[in-house]
């Protein structure tokens, strides 16, 4: 193998290290060393850096008047209690809030109201869902059982979806919510693959009315109304901004996920799925508030998280 052929060998080096002259070897070593060092530094810097730049501090304090004029009663609907607590939490700077969600599977009736409420609130297209409710069946007749598990984003404290994003389009906010900036996201879907909960879905720009009433007039003057739907043309409000589904604009083409309805929190409203939970199985609040309902709930012994072995440290807790 090592026999040299005349027309390939031109010169004989003085001293060799595996075919390289000393000089070449030194150069090679330096080049490689520098490169590895540069790469290593880049990675570790980014590992440590909190590059969010979210608004924090006094500027994030919200003095909301929600429910101020509704006298509390002893047996208020938990929705009211939680909304009051939310208003209270919003009066703190954002970094002092610690939003968590608690889902009591014993109370969940598997109605999917939360799923659809979220779809409606966030104008999710087909194939995008933030909070599916999983139904499982156990046992054999007549000893059967059903279990319903709603699955929002866990807003993990160690979110595997965040470090994989090549462009820092997703990050963890000071209040713990894992956010996506649609305007930055390039739509590579790496974060989808990284989330063990399947909590991220990609907006492929689908349309719920595709395939409906083909052939019907679209000018709104025919015998039938015809597509498209008025509701689909209105902008949505995620992150307190305005998103219209036109062309290929964001959030189309982006990864999407539950954001604990930040835009509703901002105005003193509970997340949409919490507010519409007909079994009152979904609780939401500030775990930093020792008096909050959610704090009360997660200190009991029947609380679990989903896929704890993944080490993601979810901020969504399940009561079983």
């Amino acid at each position: 193998m090592m026999t040299a052929s005349a027309n390939e060998t031109k010169h004989e080096p003085d001293s060799e290290i595996g075919g390289l002259t000393r000089r070449e070897a030194v150069r090679a070593g330096v080049l490689m060393g520098v490169s590895v060092a540069a790469a290593g530094t880049a990675v570790s810097l980014h590992r440590r850096a909190a590059v969010t730049g979210d608004p924090i501090g006094e500027g994030t304090v919200r003095h909301l008047t929600v429910l101020a004029n509704v006298p509390p009663t002893l047996n208020d609907d938990v929705l009211i209690r939680m909304q009051r607590e939310l208003v209270k939490a919003m009066a703190k700077p954002v970094e002092q809030r610690r939003w968590i969600m608690v889902i009591d599977t014993r109370k969940c009736v598997g109605c999917h109201a939360c799923t659809i409420a979220c779809v409606a609130e966030n104008h999710l297209p087909p194939g995008v869902v933030y909070r599916p409710v999983v139904t499982e069946e156990f046992g054999e007749f007549p000893n059967v059982q059903l279990r319903f598990t709603p699955r929002p984003c866990m807003q993990c404290d160690k979110p595997p979806c965040v470090p994989v994003c090549p462009v820092a389009a997703t990050w963890k906010r000071p209040d713990g919510i894992v956010t996506i900036d649609y305007d930055k996201c390039i739509g590579c879907r790496y974060c989808l693959a990284a989330c063990p909960y399947g909590a991220r879905t990609s907006d492929f720009g689908e349309d719920y009315l595709a395939g409906a009433a083909e052939g019907a007039p679209t000018d709104g003057q025919g015998a039938l109304r015809g597509a498209p739907a008025a509701w689909a043309e209105q902008p949505s409000h995620e992150y307190g901004k305005s998103w219209t589904r036109e062309g290929h604009q964001s959030p189309m083409g982006n990864a999407r996920k539950c954001h604990f309805c930040l835009h509703r929190l901002e105005v003193g409203q509970l997340p949409q799925c919490t507010t519409t939970c007909i079994g009152r199985a979904t609780y939401f609040g500030d775990a930093n508030d020792p008096d909050s309902l959610v704090t009360e709930l997660i200190t009991r012994n029947n609380v679990q998280t989903l896929l704890p072995h993944k080490g993601t440290q979810p901020r969504v807790f399940y009561i079983v």
Partner: protein, 388 residues
Amino acid sequence: MQRRYIAASLWVLWFLLLMLGVVGLYDRIVNGHLPAGYGSYVPWGLWIAIYFHGVGIAGGAFGIAALGYLLRIRGFRHPAALRVAVVLAFAAIAPAFLAVWLDLGHMERATRVFSSPMFTSMMAFNSWMYAAFLILAAVCWWISYSPNSTWLKPLLCLGMLVTVMIPSQSGAFFGVVDAKAYWHSALLPIMFLMSALTAGGAMLLLIRGIIGCGSPAGVGDNDPAVFTAALSTLRRVVFTGLVAYFVLEFAEFSVALWNPQTHAPAIDLVLWGPYWWVFWIIHLGLGGVLPAALLLVRNRNAWLLASMLIAVTFISTRLNVLVPGQAVSEIRGLQEAFTHPRLNYTYHATTMEYLVGLFLLAVGMSIYFVGRKVSKLCAARAARKVSV
């Protein structure tokens, strides 16, 4: 005669690929991702497999050529041999990049990976590495025309480092994903390296086999002995890589299959799922046993055929890692909880995706063709320079 015949059929093939590919591309551009088969539970499909295949080939081919050059192995000592590999690397990596680019939800924002990268992401890191690699390869290619440069070898060494890292990084690309048990394996980076070496070697074997076939190609192959030496070296590399890959794969599967604690449904899926034939027939049969057998035959054409098989079927190695890794839900019943074709754990590449795949192949061929022409021109110029 034979050469012209091959050339003509390559032209026809290229044209066909291009035509079909353009149809797919048109579909992709006009209808966005709607005609694609990947979704949210299987977010990556054929194109990402092509991507990893492409970068694997690039890395593997460059690595082998560089090592051969550095170690002055017969058939690899001539800088032209290096250049063939560089051109091949470009021809493999450009379509690979194109594939991920087309896969992006917002193609117009691709540059963000360079303007605001996040290096904790293997994707950002890889992109930078490949960019570095391309520059490096280009520089090597350029200075290979000045045979006395003392930078070539150090750069080749760096290139070697990068090429070892590229495929293994691709493995890490998945390995860091804790979410998918199947991907979360220490062996994966090594397997990727092996498959890169195998596929890269095979491509090199194929190309050198074709271009060296009977005509002076400026690689030194006009010396039949050198030509034969190069081919048989590559043959050995490919064979070894092939065997090593399958051994690793066996190791990986057996650990999972016989250890009840790590029992991975994804592997069941690969082996016995609805696409069992992809593993057993395409991957193991057409991509493993048959090429191995062909490589053992003392016939160059058989080797070329084997290489071709490997070059093509090793996409399935990527798909076999990629798709089943995604195809298993950690949460039972998620697919039924909210239904949509894109919220499904089965994936079928669509016609559009295949057509775009063909387009990418055509692009690769074009780049190779152009690269070869440029190489030759430059070689001629360099020769003129030397003679003047």
